[in-house]
């Protein structure tokens, strides 16, 4: 199968995942790895981030975005890894990897998957900081960004 979607609470190793993804593939000329990290801005630091998700829908949506990216950009392969549960600053949250004959397809395929993941995959972030807990608001900008694929 050319797509893989993995939801897990365990931390993952970004580089090891990239190397496992980069198995020899005829026609492969370009690979893109996007890694989303837990950000803790010093002006507004957090102690942890907790992700809630709706497992079957998250899995199905990510598989659909990956399959659509394969078809639309002619990708050879796409993998999405997304964590749920509690994670600490600087830890990886999500990784999207694409393999294609040429670079634009690999870049655009990964961007496409991330844009839809942001707005249409059922995950919710809650930040814990010294002052309490806070559910992260959805960004209107993410809805706008997604429009570029219409």
């Amino acid at each position: 199968m050319s797509i893989t979607v993995r939801l897990q609470s365990d931390i993952f190793d970004p580089g090891a995942e990239t190397n496992a993804f980069l198995t020899a593939h005829t026609k492969a000329g370009a690979a893109v790895t996007f890694t989303g990290l837990v950000r803790s801005d010093p002006t507004n630091p957090i102690t942890s981030l907790t992700l809630e998700h709706y497992p079957p829908v998250a899995q199905a949506q990510l598989e659909e975005f990956a399959n659509r990216a394969i078809a639309r950009f002619g990708l050879l392969k796409a993998t999405v890894i997304h964590r749920y549960g509690k994670m600490l600053p600087n830890e990886p949250i999500v990784q999207v990897m694409t393999l294609a004959p040429h670079r634009n397809a690999a870049f655009e395929g990964a961007q496409f998957i991330m844009d839809f993941l942001k707005t249409d995959a059922p995950f919710w972030k809650k930040e814990t900081s010294p002052t309490g807990e806070n559910w992260v608001d959805a960004k209107i900008q993410d809805d706008t960004t997604k429009l570029r694929w219409e």
């Binding site: 829908v57 999500v94 707005t119 059922p122 995950f123 919710w124 972030k125 809650k126 559910w135 959805a138």
Partner: protein, 83 residues
């Protein structure tokens, strides 16, 4: 019919799921939201801004005007913030 709540909806309602038996007159998700709101003030408050509530019907994301038919599970949740 099973109802699921996620994220701040779940926290505010103090439950992640419940089983409800709406009358036959409740035909769409929007009508289900109206009916749930009449039964529970916390839900009425949480559902106040309808465009901030997303829904899934039997594990497929759908709009509020979708007919419920024989759905087994309806989920309510805020806009997604993954990634």
């Amino acid at each position: 019919m099973k109802i699921l709540y996620f994220a701040w909806l779940r926290e505010r309602l103090n439950r992640g799921e419940e089983t409800v038996f709406p009358p036959a007159s409740v035909k769409t998700i929007a009508e289900l939201m109206d009916w749930l709101a009449t039964k529970d003030e916390a839900i009425a408050l949480a559902f106040e801004k309808r465009d901030l509530i997303k829904t899934a019907l039997d594990e497929t994301i759908v709009e509020h005007d979708t007919p419920i038919k024989n759905a087994k599970t309806i989920a309510f949740f805020p806009p997604m913030t993954g990634g």
